[in-house]
Amino acid sequence: MSAAPQKAKAGAEKIEVVVSAIVPLNDLVTRFEFTRRDGLPFPPFSAGAHTVVEMQDEGRTRLNPYSLMSDPADQSVYAISVRRDDEGRGGSLYMHRNVKLGDVMTITFPVNLFPLDLRGRKHVFLAGGIGITPFMAMIAHLERMGGAWELHYACRSKALGSYADELTRRYPNKVHVYYDDQDQAIALADLLDGQPLGTHVYVCGPAGMIKWVHDTAAVHGWPDENVHSEEFLAPQPGKPFEVRLCKSDITIQVGEHESLLEAMERCGVDAPFLCRGGACGQCETDVVEAEGEFVHRDHWLDEDDHASGKKIMPCVSRFVGTTLVLDR
């Protein structure tokens, strides 16, 4: 037993996988299936978990989190569905354009920041677009273990309604699909009214939808504990800025299209991280000195922390100013 705590490697444990299937579902969404390179079974996971997929894109390492949509009890395959984002940072484009059947890739052990509340008497799922993916795993779990659930799935159009047909066919009484282009919308207030005590609501979709659900539930007297959401924040671009890392004794430049965390990694700093989306707290870094303004984009630090200027979450947040010195 050492005197000082050992430093754990940044990120979750990794698994080498082989791409075993690539299934385009529609114009925007493609499913990728993985099997383990060593042939062993995958670890079982809890529904709602995601994996971080590593992509080597012309010398640049990209790490993107994707919800695991496969049945958590099926240890032979992990499946994710990726929505192509032409305006994005390039991760989804890489997946759609560069990944081929049989490719060897590295993904992490599952990490769950969006679990089911197993005490729940009933689970209501609200999905927007690609937000359907974690619910595929949750539905598989509840069907296997027994549990009341219902899905309300908002899609742009029938053509872009990934898995909508399959879900309505398998569970006609529990799945409701709403097509934007037919002016259909989830009647949220009606839906929330009359749910039995102990119902939990889960929303996964665009930021606006998430806010709408939280706000509506609050107005209707729902406790915040019963409303769960997951939103993968992609780091937003911003003005480049300079950072002095006093522990590593280097000064780095954070480019416009890379996050502070990515810049540190690019410069060889082994900074801790886990979800890379501003939610888990693992990358929390102390600020030694700062002259300027913080652009906090995370969901981890509280208001006081944000205001104090003493902490920053490098995976998604940025800085504008003349001096920033971090304890890294």
Binding site: M1, S2, A3, P5, Q6, A8, A12, E13, P43, P44, F45, S46, G48, A49, P72, F109, P110, V111, N112, P115, D117, L118, R119, M145, E225, L274, C280, G281, Q282, E284
Partner: protein, 355 residues
């Protein structure tokens, strides 16, 4: 690996004894000559061969007797093992983790044969050979958590993780250092630690919670905790305190070497896969003072740690009244020589007692 299992008691006649091997591999918790709380976590990924850190769930010479003592405690008080209804899945995760780990780490003692969900578990030291269906409670004599922890040394707390907080929602607690599962079950991390002095103000629990919330599958962690017990009594529960408390007053300068025990908890932390809960095994090791001081460095160090420990800690750990007598005894084994950093005995380099 063959282990010679002791036939011994942890109550009544207290026939518990540590062999030489057990003494040398004892998890001495102090890496320096003083002690204060810290979030002293490290990865739980093996350790030196033969050490208590090597295997995932350490099995030693006390295994069979400890499980017999557990069975006695449970017969007397079934409330020592409880599981809130939503924690059954976590119980299965725990059963799988312990069965897989033990059958892989100690193949001569444990076997696990799996054919889909049809499992067969063989526990040779306890004479168990049982077939059951994984995830089907009706094929086990009791819940999965109780079933497997009746066959694993140490206490087990199973913590549900909800909304950036941990909740003690299930456990098997028969070798605890004075806390009640029946009372604490359902509490959150800060609440069940409420009685610990000083640590809250130091922010220890806030930091520890953040660390624990982020423990991931495949990356377990561990730390050591310690206290003192008079007689090798495993069941130092609040429930029975009105019976065992008085034993603290039976120490004399003549018997203290044999009766006063350092009690160390090897705490490990595992993320459970299907339930996303956190498993918190608390493995208890006991050593009599007279055995501990046969390791010269430990004798020197323990004296200094106990001497300089803040009063609130000695009070909370329950030995403030016996401290003077403990120091009288231990001072005989402290010759003032410097001690090497770290917890290991370092018998090759640390000189014998110079008194």
């Amino acid at each position: 690996m063959t282990i010679q299992f002791n036939k011994e008691t942890f109550r009544d006649d207290y026939s518990f004894r540590n062999s030489d091997r057990a003494i040398k591999r004892f998890p001495f918790p102090f890496h320096e000559d003083s002690y204060m709380y810290s979030v002293n976590m490290e990865q739980h990924r093996g350790g030196p061969a033969g050490s208590v850190f090597e295997m995932r769930f350490d099995v030693d010479e006390h295994y069979v007797s400890e499980m017999e003592d557990r069975a006695l405690v449970l017969a007397e008080d079934p409330l020592r093992c409880q599981s809130l209804p939503h924690m059954t899945l976590a119980g299965w995760d725990t059963l799988e983790l312990i069965m897989v780990s033990k059958s892989e780490d100690y193949p001569d003692l444990f076997e696990l044969h799996r054919d889909g969900d049809n499992w067969r578990w063989i526990n040779k030291p306890m004479g168990i050979d049982h077939s059951f269906t994984f995830l089907d409670e009706t094929t086990l004599p009791c819940g999965p958590l109780e079933y497997i922890t009746r066959q694993a040394q140490g206490d087990f707390a199973v913590l549900d993780q909800r909304g950036d907080m941990l909740y003690m929602d299930a456990g098997m607690v028969t070798t605890q250092a004075d806390w009640s599962l029946d009372f604490d079950i359902g509490m959150d991390f800060f609440e069940w630690h409420a009685p610990v002095p000083l640590a809250h103000e130091m922010g220890i629990f806030k930091r520890a919670l953040k660390f624990l919330l982020n423990i991931q599958q495949g990356a377990p962690a561990r730390r050591l905790n310690w206290t003192m017990t008079v007689n090798p009594l495993l069941d130092t529960s609040p429930e029975n305190y009105h019976k065992w408390g008085v034993q603290k007053t039976t120490l004399t300068p003549e018997n203290i070497g044999a009766k006063q025990h350092l009690r160390v908890e090897l705490q490990t932390f595992y993320r459970l896969p299907r339930s996303n809960a956190l498993l918190f095994p608390i493995r208890c090791y006991l050593i009599a003072f007279q055995d501990l001081v046969t390791i010269p460095k430990w004798g020197r160090r323990l004296h200094r740690v106990i001497r300089d420990l803040p009063e609130e800690l000695a009070t909370y750990k329950g030995f403030i009244d016996n401290r003077p007598m403990m120091l009288d005894y231990l001072s005989q084994f402290d010759d003032g020589l410097p001690t090497s950093p770290g917890v290991w005995p370092d018998l090759d380099t640390e000189p014998p007692l110079q008194k």
